[in-house]
């Protein structure tokens, strides 16, 4: 496929097809008159009334705050733990069984205990809950990335008398950064999932809470509006992340293209 044809197809795939699906939804719902599947136009009106921007401050901002804090804590913790574990065979030996066990536990299984242990359904519990599950993709990718570093690079730095701290900061971290970023991307979508889950389970605000209340009060339009919002949040977070990654890790693309690995 040449460049022009590819671009046309890409635009079609990203814009035209979703638009066609939405149109089909509108036509079908207008025809079906189902109370569970409101018309697209009804959902959009509801979306505008709820989120642009009447309830934005009350429900969307707390959700975003939880995602940002939980994700941020997970990234810092995942990297901070992943580097020493990746560098030390001994530490891996001791830590890996625990990491593998905890990451195998599904998030809903830990929701009740997180509330009991933290005596709270407030932000602290939600952020801790999100952070706990988002740590694993970052942690495992950091460990892998650190292990995959070319020994020649480290040996060269040692030969030049570069202190261990600086080697970690300026060699290990950048060398592992492409893999860390891949882990962060997985964690980011997991952060949105766990946020909705935590809020749906027990909360007094947030988009997950809106979802729960609409369901309990049998209001389909706000429920669909919440679903659309959650989807959009996840989608936008991913797009922003990809833009940042593309800029910061431009070297990696070029390097991979240049090196016959």
């Amino acid at each position: 496929m040449n460049g022009r044809a590819y671009r046309v197809t890409k635009i079609g795939a990203e814009i035209a097809v979703p638009l066609a699906i939405l149109l089909a939804w509108q036509l079908w719902t207008a025809h079906a008159q189902s109370q569970f599947f409101p018309r697209l136009s009804t959902i959009l009106v509801e979306f505008r009334d709820l989120w642009l921007f009447a309830q934005f401050g009350e429900h969307v901002v707390p959700s975003l705050e939880r995602v940002a804090l939980g994700f941020g804590i997970a990234v810092v913790a995942g990297i901070a733990l992943g580097i020493p574990i990746g560098l030390s065979r001994n530490l891996r030996l001791w830590a890996m069984p625990h990491i593998e066990w905890w990451r195998a536990v599904p998030p809903p299984a830990l929701l009740p205990i997180s509330i009991v242990l933290l005596h709270s359904i407030e932000n602290r519990q939600k952020i801790a809950f999100i952070a706990f599950f988002c740590v694993f993709p970052v942690l495992l990718n950091t460990i892998d990335g650190v292990r995959g570093i070319d020994p020649t690079l480290i040996e060269t730095a040692r030969a030049y008398g570069i202190p261990r701290r600086e080697r970690i900061w300026r060699l290990v971290l950048p060398a592992a950064s492409p893999q860390i970023a891949a882990g962060m991307r997985t964690s980011l979508s997991l952060a949105v999932i766990t946020m909705v889950l935590a809020e749906y389970f027990s909360s007094t605000n947030g988009v997950g809470y809106v979802l729960l209340i609409s369901k309990n009060t049998y209001q389909m339009a706000p429920m669909w509006a919440a679903i659309v919002l959650i989807g959009l949040l996840g989608y936008l977070a991913n797009v922003l992340f990809l833009i940042a990654e593309r800029r910061l890790l431009a070297w990696h693309r070029g390097w991979r293209a240049a090196e016959p690995l």
Binding site: T152, L153, E155, R158, A159, Y160, E166, P174, A258
Partner: protein
């Protein structure tokens, strides 16, 4: 006049002593002897090449000298001080240029990297980087990523990095083994030229006999397992050397023949 010409034999100073160096890995039945008993010296300003059959432990030797590997027995002494960690006045160039350079940053930053923790004024640091890149003729490429350059150019970046570090002794581990023949000749001449400009002592490990004779003041020939020094061959070919003229000299042919015979006798026969 170049430093090695002015030097009289009486005034030479031994910079580096390798005394009964041995290195083995593992223990018991699985013990692998990389080096059995290696002894030789390198004098101030000298260019010493180490050759030996492949698998004889040349890289192990170099890593022990660099302070990257602890010797199992014996010692490496640099200016009277026993080497236990990488010494500050030593720089290293490895064979795998592509893997010893940081792909995420520019050529300039790669050369600058080892200088970061040296106590130097910022201007001095920048001058060292600019000068060393000029010495390897890469000034125009200082903003490029290493992987945007050819293999030979990448190895020149590694050489520039070593030069900017201002070592008194430079260790090179088969630095030109993965570049094409033409580039290899150019890089050999570049090393001779910068050695002249910077007045550094060089310990150069190679498996290429022609290269060792062409570059060296003395060639240390290693034997194969148990690895020790078979012979130290002095090379008195006139300097500056020339890729064509020097290699036409009967002395060159004679020396390379002599070294080749020493190495071949050590080759493990392929069954």
């Amino acid at each position: 006049m170049a430093p090695w010409v002015a030097r009289s034999r009486a005034a030479v100073e031994v910079v580096l002593e390798i005394n009964h160096l041995a290195k083995w890995y593992g223990s018991g039945d699985k013990i692998v002897h990389a080096l059995a008993d290696v002894t030789f010296t390198v004098e101030e300003g000298e260019f010493v090449c180490v050759v030996g059959p492949s698998g004889c432990g040349k890289t192990t030797l170099l890593k022990c000298v660099a302070g990257l590997l602890r010797a199992s027995r014996g010692e490496v002494v640099l200016r009277g001080k026993r080497v236990t960690d990488p010494p500050e006045e030593m720089a290293v160039v490895f064979q795998e240029y592509g893997r010893s350079l940081m792909p995420w940053t520019s050529v300039r930053n790669n050369v600058l990297f080892p200088l970061r923790h040296k106590k130097l004024a910022k201007q001095e640091r920048q001058r060292l980087v600019a000068d060393s890149l000029a010495a390897v003729d890469l000034s125009r490429f200082d903003g490029h990523y290493p992987w945007q350059l050819s293999g030979g150019m990448q190895q020149r970046v590694a050489i520039a990095r070593a030069l900017a570090y201002q070592p008194s002794i430079l260790l090179m581990d088969e630095p030109f083994a993965s570049v094409d023949a033409q580039t290899r000749g150019d890089l050999e001449d570049l090393v001779l030229q910068v050695r002249d400009e910077y007045g550094i002592t060089i310990l150069f490990v190679t498996h290429d006999i022609d290269e060792s004779v062409y570059l060296a003041d003395r060639v240390v020939v290693l034997s194969n397992s148990p690895t020790n020094v078979k012979e130290v061959v002095p090379v008195s070919l006139a300097r500056p050397r020339d890729q064509i003229a020097t290699k036409e000299l009967p002395d060159f042919t004679h020396l390379r023949g002599h070294v080749a015979r020493l190495v071949r006798r050590e080759q493990i026969p392929v069954a």
